[in-house]
């Protein structure tokens, strides 16, 4: 870690809201979410360690986005509770939520710098304007994701991968210790995907807990510490080779996924993306 990076980490830690020193970063207990009676999440419970990288996989409509919203404290669960670092989500501003790209109005008159500065607003408080230190943190966050040169570009003029990097930089500027990313890799070319995975590794080294919703089972197996298999209920959470078995995948996806037994292992065809190969 360079001295500059260490400084950024220190800044983030200094600004921590009340966090318990020990224990899991995210604890979800019996969370059920219902939209007009239909369950989006059903009795989901798990705990994540600090600094874990977890891939969240499951078919469309499995409740991945809902789960993220509940963890972020944006959506109140119908039953059950979530605690982050020992207290309820609403007490934290350390949750970085990187939205699906389709959810943001790309014609909005803001440039890259403006978007990243938005991350600082939670720390600034009412009637305060950004100080030199805020500008410095924004600059450092942009450098970390390799977007400093494009700071004055309008967000609509960026490629998909660049937009994702900007939103990651915003979460960094926010001082995120939990990062929730809703399909950040979908629709990106291989190089952009690699860029983002590299940045995620960097965040991992800094102790940020990362949850990534993805359709790419291959990537889930390759780039994450644990995999969460979700289809309204939590079907499995564990090491990739324990979770990505034909039995559990069949249980989660049912008809939506084709499994072919080969000599090398199980071959998986996912309807929503191309195929992925598993050991």
């Amino acid at each position: 870690m360079s001295s500059k990076e260490q400084k950024l980490v220190r800044v983030i830690l200094n600004e921590k809201y009340v966090h318990e020193a020990q224990g899991p970063s995210i604890a979800v207990k019996g969370v059920t979410v219902q939209y007009n009676g239909t369950p989006a999440l059903d009795d989901v419970s798990f705990e994540l360690e600090r600094g874990e990288r977890v891939a969240v996989v499951g078919p469309n409509g499995a409740g991945k986005s809902t789960l993220f919203k509940v963890i972020a404290g944006v959506l109140q669960p119908t039953r059950g509770q979530v605690t982050l670092f020992g207290s309820e989500p609403q007490k934290h501003i350390c949750v970085g939520y990187v939205p699906q790209r389709s959810q943001v109005d790309l014609n909005f008159p803001v440039n890259v710098y403006d978007v990243v500065m938005m991350g600082r607003i939670g720390r600034l408080g009412l009637l305060r304007w950004p100080t030199r230190r805020d500008r410095q943190i924004v600059q450092e966050s942009l450098e970390l994701v390799g977007m400093a040169e494009l700071a004055s570009r309008q967000i609509g003029e960026l490629s998909g991968g660049q937009q994702q990097r900007v939103f990651i930089a915003r979460a960094l500027a926010q001082g995120a210790e939990i990062m929730l990313m809703d399909e950040p890799l979908t629709g990106l070319d291989v190089n952009s995907q690699e860029d983002i995975l590299r940045i995620l590794n960097e965040l991992h080294r800094r102790g940020v807990t990362i949850l990534v919703a993805t359709h790419d089972l291959n990537q889930a197996a390759r780039c994450f510490d644990r995999v969460m298999l979700l289809n309204r209920r939590l079907i499995a959470l564990g090491y990739p080779d324990q979770v990505l078995t034909s039995e559990l995948l069949w249980h989660a996806y049912g008809e939506q996924l084709r499994l072919v037994e080969t000599k090398g292992g199980v071959l998986v065809f996912n309807d929503t993306t191309c195929s992925g190969e598993l050991e």
Partner: protein
Amino acid sequence: MIEFINGLLGPLAHPFMVRGLLAALIVGIVCAVLGTYVVLRGMAFLGDALAHTILPGVAVGYLLHGGAREPLFWWGLATGVLTSIGIGAVSLQGQIKEDTAIGVIFAGMFALGIALISTVRSYSVDLAHFLFGNVLAVGPNDLILTAAFGGLVLLLILAFYKELLVVSFDPILAATLRIPSKFFHYLLLVMLAVTIVISLQTVGVGLMVAMLVTPAATSFLLTRRLPAMMAVSMAIGGFSAVAGLYISYYANVASGAAIVLVCTGLFVLAFIFAPRKGALWRALRSR
């Protein structure tokens, strides 16, 4: 040149014209700045509806006070703030689709306003003033109220600049930063109500939405960042108000209509010739 300057100074010999110009300038600026949020958040229909729902309040004030002007301001303000909160509650509740709910409330309130005013004998003239404004009737007190409330709206937009930006751009980020989105939703509606009431005499209920939307939309085509969009919108709104009033003076056309037509003309120019976002530019580039 001298003739042109004399042409500009001539109308200023009349005090009513000076007051009208100042009122129009303030209204043009305040509408244009608040209008950036109306445009970016897609609140144009809401703004139009809110302008119309103020009519019954103004009508009640008009009937109770026998045509005196100043109480109308307060009646309009009270109605505007109440309906803006009502519309806010309806749109957050979400059983009926928002635009449907607004349509129902807006037409009903507007009909009530017309019914009330129609009980008076000088009905058509008075109604025309409410609907299309009568900027030359702005009195000294009206001007002070317009300046005070217009200034308040500008001050609030400045003070809550970063919160309004985040709430408008990315509601989920606003929620994770624990910014009270609902409060700012209502604040915008109340500011919209106040702005509409101070603009009532200048452009009236019927053309209100143009003052909110057109300068901001023009500016949107010309700028790339929100502060610039606000500044350019403000310049367009202020210029249109003053230019429109002069046109109304010399060409003898209705003042509110003249102001709105200047705005619309500028929008058409920007729509065609704006760099990057203009139609001509895009056509040339796609060739």
